[in-house]
Amino acid sequence: MPTTLSRRTLLRGMLGGATLSLGLPALECMLNRHGTALASGTALPVRYGTWFWGCGVCPEKWIPQTTGANWETTSELAPLDVTAGGVSVKSYINLTSGMQTKLPGRFTHYPNASSILAGNHDAAAGAYGEPGGPTLDVILARQWAGRTPVSSLQVGVAQQGDNLVKQNDTSWLGDNMPNAMEFSPAALYNTLFSNSSANLKQIAGRKSVLDFVQGDMQRLRSRVGTLDAQRLQEHAQNIRQIETGLDALAKLQCVVPNPPVDPAVQVGSREPLQEVNRLFADLLVLAMQCDITRVFALQFISVSSNVTFWQVGGTGSHHGYTHAGSDPNPQVAANARDIVDKSVTFMMGELSYMVQKLASTPEGAGNMLDNSLVFATSELSDGTTHDDNNHPSLLIGRAGGAMKYPGIHYKGVNEDNATRISLTALRAVGASLPSLGVDAAATTASIPDLLA
């Protein structure tokens, strides 16, 4: 049942055009006395985000020596051991080791990523085995379609990918169907807020046309082959999503911040990763706070990324540095390993920026991190050896109370299937699905230790 709210009362007394730094007391006036649910009895909305980075970690600087609660903070995770909004961010983190991605492939980066992001990949397509789908964000966007004006948001920070500029490995609708990924914060702003002042008549007009065009969709679908019927069905479904989103929009009011300005990006050299990431994080958190969407996927860097981490002294491809960790010259190897370590630490700092933002945004009796789950993950563990065991995943947030709190370090046994982590994340935020994944990645069992 969609939750519909008018923010008019909520925003009374606030000036239009308020900036991003204004913390909105989201949903406050609608809450029950305990601040745990809406006055109507509906629970506060739970949000989900995938936060992906390519090429893994340095496991010796990532995996804590101790398991269970009170796991020791390792150097690469140190940026997440902070206090924000008066709470310990670390206490919101459940992390896993000892799990293995299961989908096979000759060039392992891509099937590894598919194992954790979808449990499914299209081994037949492309030289590398393209990502399969739907990915976790798409599964949730479909299950929750119509609850919010925008079903989900997909953004990419680094533009330099492996083979492509603006390569999207993180969000796929299905086999051979990459989702659209936004690399411009200014464009994301337009998606989110260009309609916010739309009057009801315009919305009604848009809806009439969308509704009418479905007739053409149906007529055409009856004449085409299987593949095209599937494509048109996907398109028609997305049109229906716009319609339900418009219904939600008609009832929504939210303070529109000032538009961000995109920093200049030069692909292949000094990309402003920190600036772009923070603009995106601000917009995504605000979009979830205003209940414009409840699902996002953020790709910090792609699978096998060739981005340069100039911020930590890198002068070439990140993927290149991960492999140079096995250079026969020990000095070259040590230097490369050091750059990789600093790059991973840098990325965890950027993840921490968003998580801190969620933790320091009050909501109900707690904060937004209480009602969110950020699934931060990579395609493999150690980029130098292409190690697909000890998959580095972080589940950050309580997901409305579903996740174990304070968080633990869970160590899987016998190279257990890492897709179970993904299924755990989906179920924690309330998705209902009997299983996830295909072939060796298929699983029906989430990880009970990670749940409250």
Binding site: M177, G205, N238, Q241, R337
Partner: protein, 556 residues
Amino acid sequence: MPINGFGCRAQACLRASALVAWSTVAACFANGQVPGGTADAQPATTRAVFSGYPTSGLRRLTTAQYTNSVMSLLGSDFAPRVALDADSVGGDVLRSESASTLATTPHGADQYDLSAQDLAARRFATQALAADFVGCTPSLDPNDACVATFVRTFGLRAWRRPVTPDEFAAYTGAVPQFAALDGNVWTAMRMLTAAFLESPNFLYRSELGVPDPNGYRVLDSFELATRLAYLLTNSTPSDALLASAASGALSTPAGLLDAASRMLNDPRAPAAFVDFLGDWLDLDSLASRVPSDPNLFAYATPTLGASMRQEVGLMATDLVFNQNADFRDLFTRNTTFVNGDLAALYGLPGQGNAFVPVQWPQNSPRGGLFTSAAFLSSQSTGPQTSPTRRGLYIVQRIQCRTLSPPPAGAGMLPPADPNAGPQTMRQKLNAHRTQAACAACHTLMDPMGLTLEHFEAYGTYRATDQGLFIDASGEVDGQAYVGTAQMANIMRGLPEVQQCIVRHVYRQALGQHETADAEPFIASLTQQFAQSGFRMQALLLSIVSSDAFRTAQELR
């Protein structure tokens, strides 16, 4: 298992070698096949058993096609203002092919909707604009003649075919329904226009065809007009072409040939070809790949990447449309076009934005596509050259070979060792030749990339590499050469390269990769291409007048 961050983990190496036999060069080709090498020789004329026809279905307009079509329908002032879904999944799959398979994402559907609303609002912004566009005065009468005319005429132009009776009823019937919003018939006409532009009948080109007695599907005249128009002008069919379709003039190969010959003289034809070539040669990301900051690259300007791409476009336009010369001259020609950006990079006199023709001197290291800044920069991801990426680029895009992906645990170029002293790229890549697992593929890619080592990542020339001699010798298809000019000369003579040109035109025209069954057709097209003296215009006309252009195997 202890974590060992240094050195190749034995298990990963074993796993890689167990999966693929990396010991021979043949193992490097995906499926163990060199394209075109093994197909049965089956004459393309035996229609009853020929299974080499393409599949048929819907092709989504690319962003350029959407833009061109909208501006053709509404007027040149009405450029779309949205960011549609990406056209391509990348790799060696053309946009034209991705258009046959890509789904429209939630973002894409939203953009189509916003764009249709925005375009209609602008076209109906004033009473004068609206009246000019509709051409008559509509009313809310259910049998209004003006509305009926508009639905028939705009429907034909927007959907590239006459509207069906069902569609006519639905669209004329929508006017009173839309007007319910504010009682204004012009509001309804605006919404009707948005609906035409948001309809799948506009966004997807129909190439469905109808079943014929031989069990194939045959494209109708309007579908042929559409296929022709997007191939040769990258835009919607003109009113004249739609009239030809209606008259039945396109239903014979001679009629198609005649229409196509006229369209090759259309002022939009060169831009359509250059759009295709940019996709084929992966030149479209140059504007974002090539530095614009002079601190990163001495010759950087904000327009350098775009200038590079434009040089190749001008060379191709000159070759194909002005001279109608041997297309293989693209590899070997000693003339080009430069503006100020490129003159500086190439060390030539000249400034300003305008391009002027130049001839490379006899002793110049440059000449032809391979030494153009665009080609040399296309695969660069930083200031260091990558002979492997450049070599793979030639293997895939010029030779049409498909290589297997690297094995698990394959390495990348190590960063420079500060204590090792200067090394040429050939020395740094020694392992690619000495280690059997690497050599299987790298001996196919690296040599041509190493030949280009006289050119830095963004195309500047260097006589030496850190003061060291650059060995630009190499071998392709068993023929040894020294330097890019000799390499280019060998390449233009290779049947594989000539066929690769044909393959790309086939993929562009028909929106899909050729199947193994289509090899006889590719071979026959290549023969005709050779007989024409390798004229691109002749190749386009051969494809257009072929059976495969009109006939499909089955629905996708």
